[in-house]
Symmetry: C2
Subunit: 320 residues, 2 copies
């Protein structure tokens, strides 16, 4: 069985584009560009909690990095560097080669250097930390939303949850729909270009990892607002076209995790500018509601105008 240092060298040493010193010393050396703040995020993925232990390692490599880049996108930051800490039950060469391929495919797609990391023995656990740059003062936080701002969601949220339901619970979808949903689950696309485009337009933003309704709560809390979501405005059409039953589609959009679409608020006066970004980024954007002046209160508006609180919330790793 190869040793730790050999593993690192063989699978995780590839040329770095913008890192003074990468893998192989006590620390990596990064040189942020003048005037830039660093946005840094870290996520831990655990076998059995976040993914099936038999997940295709190439998909896992992609996803481990993609979900972190999504956090940077949600700040309007440009991804630059990644660090990988990896615990493995055994040094499985084929597994690592495939994992590294997926990871580097994502890194290359988004211009990210793998600048450092750690490998060790233990139950399968992936911890990725990413750093990106954003001009000082221009980051889009969760706390800038104001009553009256429109609420938007990108892409086709819910597909990842349907993919998981198809795998785990045998949910029937059309053949094409199943492929779309598994692709969304296994190869999420961080909305980096959209995040950058929304600097100066969005007042508050996050990426949906635990479900739209639950994650919107974080914006409401930080922005001291409430929100009304128009159920008829939710983008159910792609999920229905994938073959999902209506209720399953609604549940997937509101409470499904793992989509990594951007959820954001923007003033109505910027509606046209935001809508124009959909074409610019080649990505559907849906205006699904408004922020209100009732802090923490989230209501869903039915087609008949009636209002009700949501009954489905996000995924909390320690809640019962």
């Amino acid at each position: 069985m190869p040793g730790e240092f050999d593993l690192i060298r063989r699978h995780f040493t590839r040329p770095a584009a913008h890192t003074a010193l990468a893998v192989g010393d006590d620390a990596a050396l990064l040189m942020p560009r003048p005037g830039m703040q660093l946005a840094v995020s870290t996520d831990m993925l655990v076998a059995g909690t976040h993914f099936f232990p038999d997940t295709d390692p190439a998909d896992l490599g992609w996803k481990a990095l993609a979900v972190n880049l999504s956090d940077l996108a949600a700040m309007g930051a440009e991804p630059r560097w990644a660090f990988l800490a990896l615990a493995l039950p055994a040094a499985d060469d084929a597994w690592l080669a495939a994992f590294a391929d997926g990871l580097f495919a994502c890194a290359q797609a988004f211009g990210v250097d793998l600048a450092g990391g750690d490998t060790t023995r233990g139950p399968l656990n992936l911890c990725v930390t990413v750093a990106g740059e954003v001009p000082a003062g221009q980051a889009v936080t969760r706390g800038g939303g104001r009553p009256g701002d429109e609420v938007w969601i990108s892409g086709r949220p819910g597909r990842a949850a349907l993919g998981l339901a198809a795998l785990r619970d045998g949910l029937a979808l059309s053949a094409d729909g199943r492929a779309h949903c598994l692709e969304a689950l296994h190869r999420p696309q961080p909305r980096v270009a959209l995040g950058l485009a929304l600097r100066g337009l969005a007042t508050a933003m996050l990426d949906v990892s635990d479900g739209l309704a639950g994650d919107l709560g974080h914006i409401l809390e930080r922005s001291c607002c409430g929100a009304i979501i128009d159920l008829p405005a939710l983008p159910l059409a792609p999920l229905l076209a994938d073959g999902a039953p209506h209720d399953e589609a609604l549940r997937a959009v509101l409470a499904g995790g793992d989509d990594y679409e951007l959820l954001f608020a923007a003033p109505p006066a910027r509606h046209g500018l935001v809508a124009a970004m959909a074409a610019h980024c080649n990505l559907p954007l849906h205006c699904i509601g408004r922020l209100t002046d009732r802090p923490g209160e989230l209501l869903l508006r039915e087609a008949d105008g009636s209002l009700q609180p949501p009954t489905m919330t996000g995924y909390d790793h320690f809640a019962r």
Copy 2:
């Protein structure tokens, strides 16, 4: 059982001294000072591999951060920010409170902001990422050593290994010695002040986490040098005074991990300046040998002048 967001808020939200935006958004925002490079390091600690599952959580909190700060010290970087990703089998409130106390004690001792993190459910696993600042071009890497440079080690290396042997194998030490060695094992002191003081003096440096002989190999490889270590110059005296048998003390110094002392090379012309740092940092510094022009060749010199290769190497997590 409290939820994930509540856990984070309760245990890991404390005032940040120099972070624009810390725990609670998609990413933290850091503003490096002008002209500074960022040194970034990540380490993963796994229960059963790196520590006993019943380790005092306060000690574990201290150590999880300290071993990472040690990596920054080894680059001559000033620690500034830390990120904690934590997988826990269950949300144990008392455990988390003690762990957070230990972590923040270390953070406060070294002026570090906990700027972000992630908590999730899974087999106990701690992944800490730290970022520090170093003036551009002044970091001390592993690769600047030259033949003729003296080799130095700080502090009282070997105590952590003796502490582990006392716990695991019942090694008998004096009462004071056992206390010293367990302190070294559980509350390692990252040599931050020494690392900063050695900028411009040391040509190559690292922190000893896997044993002096094994880790010196990394300097030899990166610096394209060999080395001769003088066995009589090794600081065995503190370990003998702790009650360790001579051979056990020698093994602990050469092959013991977990000491986090700084191992570095410096030109003989700077011997006096380096020695003066011992007083400046209130820390013993030992000149234990020289770099040679025989790449990769490590030899130990006995008291009688005879040379032999080492038979004990560092700890490799995947080697058999």
